[in-house]
Structure formats: structure tokens, C-alpha cells
């Protein structure tokens, strides 16, 4: 056995010089200190993404993206297909956990200032991955074609209409017409299973290669972390242990709380109470409502949408704007921004469930 592997490695090495890569990986170290735990969050997000790809492909075997059949096909998955309810429940739960852990990962990286040179582009690709994940969630939400998701998608796409000049174009692009119809379902399905997977894979691979190439950052002021563990096998095995734990939690959630299907969407019936987007959009959605209908001569919603767009761009550019962290100095301003963002998103999201309704 041993000689077979050595032979294989030698064979590959002659052609592709892979011993260089193997040497690089076996020498790589991960610093050990009180914040090491946060280094696992990206890996867990990755696990949930892999689960999304696998369960998503399984769902594709039975799912049909038309208004006549979508709801019925999901119903079929849940009632007739062996373990169909479980696969769908896992896809839905893992989608939420993936986004939750992407948030945790992103905010921990923000507070540890791991984005400072030379890792600016790791942050940029990471934020893009976050945005694409949100797009996955938005496009997936409509696919079961139930009442809740139908009206939430109407509202969600209509918000784009407030953008001056191009708003109408964006609506038509997203909906495939004036209204949310079967054309919208087909379109968002295409985004969900073809466009977004293609784009996310490319960016994800770049993100991971950058992380592997540069290794883990050490926080400012902790330049001399003495202890370290080998990435392979020490950190890798701990990563796997974390994955096992995460899979356990996911399986329990999916089995104990199977994802609901609700009522089939009817484009000719009134919106029921309780229309809401998924939880990770609630903080934006709620903020929109805080704006008065008119601010001076401008539409309140237009201003809100512009502020969000500006914040979205600001977020990408943080590594270039945090000039203190660039010089390896503490940057309390960005720590404050990070903590404020966490509190705002957290509190508004929770209040949306219990107070604002």
C-alpha cells in the first residue's frame, strides 16, 4: 500500500511537481491563542455549502419549475419520494445555517481585522460570497411556489423599482415580465441552479486558494504568537470534528422540525397575513419601514435603498479604508462599526419576530 502511494506521488511529481505543494501544506501552521476558535467558522460555512450542492442536485431529480407543477412536485418530494421530506428539510435548514455561519465568519474576521494587508482580496471575495449566498436564499425561496414565498418575492422584487431610471428594467429582468408569474419562477430557478452555482464556485475556489496560500492571520498586537499547530493533520482533524458536530445538529433540526410547505400560491387571491422574507433579509426590510414616506422632496424608500447600496459597497472596501489597521495599529473606529453592525442586525432581526410583526 505504502509503496503504491509513494509510486503514485512520484509519478505525479515527475509530471506536475506536486511535492512542492505537499511540502507547503505539511509545513503550514495555524496559530494557537484565545481566538483560534473563530478560524473554524469559515470551514463550517463551507460544509453547509457542500451539503447545499449535494441536496440541491438530489432535489433537481424531482423538482419542476413551472407554476402548474412546482408546488405539486415539492409536495410529491415530501410525501411520495423516500426520504424526500428529509432531503428537502436538510436543504432548507442547511441554507439557513450556511448563511448564519457566513455571518459569524464575516463578523469574526471583521473584529479580528484579518482583512488587513496582505489579505485585502480575501475579504473582498468573502463579501462577494456573502452576497451570492443571499441571492441563493432569495431565488430558492420562491421555488416551492407557496403563498408566503410568492408574495415575499413580489415585495422583494418590487423594491428594486424605487431605483430611479433603471428600476423598471431591474424589475423586468428579475421577474421576466411586469409581474411575478411563471416566467419569474423559471428565471429564478435558472439563477438558483445554474448561474449562481457557477459564479460561487469560481469565487469560492479563489477565496480558499488565497487562504491556503497566505495562511491564517494573527491579530494586531499579537505578532508573537508562539504556539501553533500544523494545519495538516492537527487543524484539519479538528475541522473534521467540527463538521461532524455541525452535521449532527443539522440532522437533528431537519428531522425534528421538518420544513413546512404551506399553501400553494394563487396570483388571484389576497395576500394573507404574515408575509415576510427569510430572517436574513428582515433587518433590511425592517429598516426600509423606519424611513418616512417622504424626506423633503425625495421618496423615503429611494433614500433607504441608496443607503443600503452605499453600505454594501463600503463593506467591500473596508480593507482599503481602515488605514490604521493597514499600519498594524489598533483601529477602534472599525471595531465600533463592526460591533454596531452586529448589534443592529441582531436586535432588529429579533425585534422583527417579536415586536414589529
Amino acid at each position: 500500500m505504502k509503496t503504491y502511494t509513494t509510486n503514485l506521488i512520484n509519478w505525479l511529481d515527475k509530471r506536475y511537481n506536486i511535492k512542492e505543494i505537499i511540502g507547503f501544506i505539511t509545513e503550514k501552521k495555524v496559530p494557537i491563542y484565545k481566538h483560534t476558535i473563530w478560524y473554524y467558522m469559515g470551514g463550517i460555512t463551507l460544509l453547509f455549502f457542500i451539503i447545499q450542492v449535494l441536496t440541491g442536485i438530489l432535489l433537481l431529480l424531482y423538482y419542476r419549475p413551472t407554476p402548474e407543477e412546482a408546488f405539486e412536485s415539492v409536495q410529491f418530494i415530501m410525501t411520495q419520494v423516500h426520504y424526500g421530506w428529509l432531503i428537502r428539510s436538510i436543504h432548507s435548514w442547511s441554507a439557513n445555517l450556511m448563511i448564519l455561519f457566513a455571518f459569524i465568519h464575516m463578523f469574526s474576521v471583521l473584529l479580528l481585522k484579518s482583512y488587513r494587508p496582505p489579505r485585502e482580496l480575501t475579504w473582498v471575495t468573502g463579501v462577494l460570497l456573502m452576497y451570492i449566498s443571499l441571492a441563493f436564499g432569495f431565488t430558492g425561496y420562491l421555488l416551492p411556489w407557496n403563498e408566503l414565498s410568492f408574495f415575499a418575492t413580489k415585495v422583494g422584487t418590487d423594491i428594486a423599482g424605487v431605483i430611479p431610471f433603471i428600476g423598471k428594467f431591474i424589475i423586468r429582468f428579475l421577474r421576466g415580465g411586469e409581474d411575478v408569474t411563471g416566467a419569474t419562477l423559471t428565471r429564478l430557478f435558472g439563477f438558483h441552479v445554474a448561474v449562481l452555482p457557477g459564479v460561487i464556485i469560481v469565487i469560492l475556489v479563489i477565496h480558499l486558494l488565497m487562504v491556503q496560500r497566505q495562511g491564517m492571520s494573527k491579530p494586531i498586537g499579537l505578532k508573537e504568537v508562539k504556539k501553533g499547530m500544523l494545519f495538516f493533520p492537527d487543524f484539519f482533524l479538528r475541522d473534521l470534528l467540527g463538521w461532524l458536530f455541525a452535521v449532527g445538529i443539522l440532522a437533528a433540526l431537519a428531522a425534528i422540525f421538518p420544513w413546512e410547505l404551506g399553501q400553494k400560491a394563487d396570483p388571484f387571491s389576497s395576500a394573507p397575513e404574515g408575509i415576510a422574507p427569510e430572517w436574513y433579509f428582515l433587518f433590511m426590510f425592517q429598516t426600509l419601514k423606519f424611513f418616512p414616506a417622504r424626506i423633503l422632496i425625495l421618496d423615503g424608500e429611494v433614500i433607504a435603498v441608496f443607503i443600503f447600496a452605499a453600505l454594501g459597497i463600503f463593506w467591500i472596501l473596508i480593507p482599503f479604508l481602515d488605514t490604521k489597521a493597514r499600519r498594524e495599529q489598533k483601529s477602534p473606529i472599525f471595531t465600533t462599526i463592526g460591533i454596531f453592525a452586529i448589534l443592529y442586525v441582531g436586535i432588529i432581526t429579533i425585534l422583527s419576530y417579536f415586536v414589529f410583526k
Binding site: 422584487t157 423586468r172 421576466g176 411575478v180 396570483p267 388571484f268 389576497s270 395576500a271 404574515g274 414616506a293
Partner: protein, 146 residues
């Protein structure tokens, strides 16, 4: 000699760059046009039947199809018919008649309109689009106000 050479080079660069841009544009233009859906050719209906006379209770409302869009027909406490496009002017949800408050309600963000379709509370920024109602034989006919 030198001078002529660089200007010739930059001329060729412009030519290549311009050519490339043209080729890219000629690929992109049809793609962008393809992605934006064609305008619907289905004409809006002149008038539709929203229901039969005698079918509705006083102080009730129902959704009907006005072409491809939903409409709301209301039979008021006073025995009048009122009709509107049922699309909320806020963010496109479909409104409903509330017989408890005798008003039109949008459940999405708790918007209210009065029975003339005027927005009275919540986020809706404009009144509902009003429709004409007339009786023809025993059909309650609804048409756009032109």
C-alpha cells in the same frame, strides 16, 4: 523616425482596441436584449364581467381577474358596487376588503385604503386605481376609466 514609429504603434493599438470593443458590443447587445423579456402583446381588456348580480352579500368583497391582473370588487353596506385594481400601490401585494372596518386592507405591511380607494394609513403612497362599474343584463361589468 522614432516619432513616426510610436504614432503608428498607437494607431494600431487604437484600431485593435476599437475592433475588440466593437466585437464585444456586438456579442453583448443581443444577449442583453435576449435577457430582457419582450413586452407583453396581450392587450388589456376593455371590460370584463366581475361577477353576477345578486351573487354577493352586502358589505363584502371579492377578487376577480381583470385580464392578467387581479381586481377587487366591493358590494358596500349601502348596496353600491365599487371596483379597483387590487394591486397595492406600496409594494405590489394584493389587497382585500375588510368587512369589520369597512375598508380595504393590505396584509403585507398593514396598509389601509377607504372605500373610495384612497390610502388612509400605513405605507401605501397612492390611492388604488379605480375602475368603472356598470350592470349589463345580470353581469357586473368592470372597465378601465379612460
Amino acid at each position: 523616425m522614432e516619432e513616426r514609429n510610436t504614432s503608428r504603434k498607437s494607431f494600431i493599438n487604437y484600431l485593435l482596441g476599437g475592433g475588440f470593443t466593437l466585437v464585444a458590443a456586438s456579442f453583448l447587445y443581443p444577449i442583453v436584449r435576449f435577457v430582457l423579456p419582450p413586452k407583453s402583446t396581450e392587450a388589456e381588456p376593455m371590460a370584463v364581467s366581475a361577477g353576477k348580480v345578486g351573487e354577493m352579500h352586502l358589505n363584502s368583497g371579492k377578487i376577480f381577474k381583470f385580464g392578467r391582473k387581479p381586481g377587487l370588487l366591493i358590494y358596500t353596506e349601502q348596496g353600491e358596487y365599487q371596483a379597483f385594481m387590487a394591486t397595492c400601490t406600496h409594494l405590489d401585494c394584493i389587497v382585500q376588503f375588510r368587512n369589520d372596518s369597512e375598508s380595504i386592507w393590505c396584509a403585507c405591511h398593514n396598509g389601509y385604503y377607504d372605500l373610495n380607494g384612497n390610502n388612509i394609513s400605513g405605507p401605501p403612497p397612492r390611492p388604488l386605481e379605480r375602475l368603472n362599474v356598470f350592470i349589463k343584463d345580470d353581469d357586473i361589468m368592470v372597465s378601465k376609466i379612460t
